[in-house]
Amino acid sequence: MYVGQPIRRREDFRFLTGRGTFVDDVQLTQPILHAAFVRSPHAHARIKAIRTDAARKMPGVHTVLTGADWLKAGYGEAEGVWPVNDRSGKPARTVNRPFICVDNMVRCVGEIVAMVVADDRHQALDACEAIEVDYEALPANVVTAKALDKGTPLVHPKFGTNEVLESYHGNPEVVEAGFKKAHHITKLEVPTNRVTASPIEPRAYMGHYDVMNDRYTVWTTAQAPHIVRQYFTKSLRIDEHKLRVIAPDVGGGFGMKLYHYPEEPLALWGAIVTEHPVKWTGTRSECLMGDTHARDHYTVGEMAFDKDGKILAMRFKTLAAFGAYESQWQASITNAYHFTMLSLAYDIPGIFTEVKGVYTNCTPVDAYRGAGRPETVYQVERLIENGAKEMGMDPFVLREKNAIRPEKIPYTTAIGITYDSGDPPELFRKMRVLAKYDALREEQKKLHAQGICMGIGICGFFDMAGAGPVKMMNDLGAKIGCYDVASVRVHPSGKVTVFAGSHSHGQAHATTWTQIAADRLGIDIEEIDLVEGDTDRVPFGIGTWGSRSLSTAGMAVVAACDRVIEKAKKLAAHMLECAPSDLVIENGQFIVKGTDKKIAFAEVTNAAYHSGDRPKGLEIGLEETAFYDPTDCTYPSAVHLCVVIVDPETGRVTLRDYFAVDDVGRVINPMVFEGQVHGGCAQGIGQALMEECAYDPSSGQYLSGTFMDYAIPHSTDIPSFGIESHTTLTPSNPLGAKGGGESGTIGAPACIANGVIDAIWHLGVRQISQPMTPKKIWHALQSAKAGR
């Protein structure tokens, strides 16, 4: 059995030796030209003139293109795959993110105004500097909390408001009743900070138009190559059979690489205009500014408890920033992933939430690892933590008291989502042992007595992973079918190529998908290879995001392998003169149960192609494709706990310990899974303690344009993790696997915030917005000291 084994990642040899092939590494026989862009330095401005004459005459320049050229070419827009859907019935106030400014208005810093294509990137940048743009700067709206206030500048005046959508969810009557009979009510402002994924590989695109064959090729840093191909049918209006999209090695995506960014069609447009391949590789500054940002919810919440600490009800109001335009998947957060998971791991009778999407003069917001759920867990868990403290109860015990009991599962939350499997009390029990919780509280008492501010943070939650099924996701607003696909091609020699519609950009599918296939086919893992990321080679797939690949594409691998085996067994049975049901497969052989009669897998596969002696009606060949639509989402659950030390003199937080007990169902490769938790936690730690896409509130200037100001965690900021699993299988797929990709980013921000507040609660601090930087913590301590 390969499934369940910590097999070394088969892709790591090339990555660790620096020999992966990323978009920027792709070489062609023709010389490659380079694109560079003139971008708006203003958050909001009217363009009065663009002068490109000087740039056109610069050395090496092939073309200079602007929005006027785009309009002349008759191209289209980036249409949402998860478009806004106003649940209160108002028409959607959609403005798609433009590729290049076409209406002489720029609405966020970094918006593209002109493109230069030149022989090399330095020449292209020189020419960009020679382009003169006259801007009339306008007042900007960059503070989410104030987006709907009177007098706030409108991003799109045609709507008369900055509101994009409004939605309500939950059972308001139960909430009303819960608050009425509450013994204690906790109220908090619980905003989540604007962050960005910042993967190690910046976004990069290369476009090529082959005039002779009238075929287009795009190399892209994408998580879902077929979706990219579909975007191009709307943007450059290229027919799907004419376009090949290749996503080679991709160095991290985290959701952020799912979208039709401006530079993607522009690179191909440049190639069409110049009849040369055109490439753009983002600089870190361009990416920190132009990659979709994430989170940025302004939320106020209230929680009602009875006298024993049982949660009766909670209610929230959220302003969810969209940024200046609607990015293609943004509504998957507001309309699907945020509100749905509000019950977390707790049995809460009443939940109500009001969400308003708002436009601001900032970079568009879209899904990033966790998409909506980090916000959810943070807003609920902060209330639980403060509620427990205000009531003088142990926060761990209060959570255990509210945890959904296993006998209540399947459990339908007040929001209406049904958790199909899990055992939250067991997760808490395991955490208590793993973290030595009681000893930690003893230690805390001692350290506080010595003036050392140690804190313990806790959170528990359910995740909604594995998007599909198609119907359910359609109902939640997806215009794409959330299935996935795999083809299993068995070659005559018995070697196998698996083609999958998922795309690995760090998740190690070449290891885990082949682990699954090897078990299913009963052959050695070395005899199987995986192909992903090429629309000319792989059937139409939906890609990798939302912790979905295993429970969709992975299950398609299972289904396609099962079909291969079913057919191969018919042939093997014919060759061995037995019934297919008499056969078992083991170590590359078909064996007649209870006998020593057997035949090698490779002999059967050879016969599948080359032998005329086959059962009547059995088709030649051995290759199967399965499109897999799961029966439900999956609902992984977890409990996280951390120990922090806050230095009250400087406000600096040291994260001493981090523990996670996860239930992700069947684990295919524990090492890969742990890696997912480590990486996710690191990103969640960044969100909690340091990451922030900051705008100057008055000028709208973007302040986090380089890694000198945008802080991501260093390895030295991250402790060793203590990780355990508790497995309950989901009934929604044959392996019982849930999703393990997002637990870290979902849990860590809330967990760490609770830890920091726990560390300095005794000094009077009740809440600090994230990121909890030393500066903010120090100021919070000063305010508490001054009794403010």
């Binding site: 330095h122 940048l125 400087t650 380089t706 100001d709 500066k775 100021h779």
Partner: protein, 265 residues
């Protein structure tokens, strides 16, 4: 980057000649400040004169009562040097606190002085330890070297060849690093020397500065407690994402105490 001509001289004399001959020439040492600035197109040079081929600049040695560090001594070499650790451990601690391993492997102490970044550590090392900058033609005292934000008193075409430090009785380094860049939000070098006590602060203002009240208090009583009650004014302190003037002023006090503690530990 803008286009430039690249030169790699092998002697100081040749480097000086190249620099003088250029309309807009710049030295390249570790490149850890200059190259990123050029990549951002915030700096340009007609000629880049790479000092890395001048082997005579790559040294760290004791010269009688002084510790002398050549212009090509990397942060990592200073951090690891037995001579530095023995004679001025606080300087080794400073070098070890610069950036990350990649930066320390290439960046030089003298390059940092020449760049005069307000958040850089090395200027506080120079001023706090009362070092002397040695150039191809003169010696410049620490207190005369910096001239505000990104400005020094180096003349056009002047090359720094090294820096010399008297060996202090005691010295201590404490740094509060920016979580993003790992540069100093506020960092303090405290030294007790034959010539008195020096307290040099970096990261907090446009340029490195000394704190006379602290120096006077420590001269009487070289202990962290001596600094209690000395208020640092937030006036003129930097204000950015990572720290406002009040916070920085407070950090200067905290770091100064910790530097004294490090010096007396």
């Amino acid at each position: 980057m803008y286009a430039f001509n690249y030169h790699r001289p092998s002697s100081i004399a040749e480097a000086v000649k190249l620099l003088k001959a250029s309309s807009d020439g710049r030295c390249l040492a570790g490149g850890m400040s200059l190259i990123p600035t050029m990549k951002h197109r915030l700096a340009s040079a007609a000629d880049l004169i790479d000092l890395n081929g001048i082997r005579e600049l790559a040294f760290i040695r004791r010269e009688g009562d002084a510790l002398v560090i050549g212009a090509l001594a990397r942060h990592v070499e200073i951090a690891d040097s037995a001579d530095v650790k023995k004679s001025i451990p606080a300087l080794a601690a400073l070098a070890a606190s610069v950036g990350d391993p990649q930066v320390r492997n290439r960046g030089t102490f003298c390059g940092s002085l020449c760049f005069a970044d307000p958040a850089a550590d090395c200027p506080a090392g120079l001023v706090g330890l009362n070092g002397t900058v040695i150039t191809d033609k003169r010696r410049i005292a620490a207190d005369k070297f910096f001239n505000g934000l990104y400005e020094t008193t180096l003349e056009k075409g002047e090359i720094v060849t090294g820096v010399s430090f008297p060996i202090p009785e005691k010295a201590g380094w404490a740094k509060f690093a920016n979580l993003a860049s790992r540069f100093a939000i506020a960092a303090v070098m405290v030294a007790k020397t034959g010539g008195g006590v020096r307290v040099a602060v970096t990261g907090a203002k446009a340029s490195v500065f000394r704190v006379p009240e602290m120096e006077a208090a420590l001269a009487k009583n070289f202990s962290a407690a001596a600094l209690d009650g000395i208020k640092i004014s937030p006036d003129g302190m930097n204000n950015d994402l990572h720290g406002d003037p009040d916070y920085r002023a407070h950090l200067v006090s905290v770091m100064a105490k910790r530097a004294v503690q490090a010096a007396t530990a």
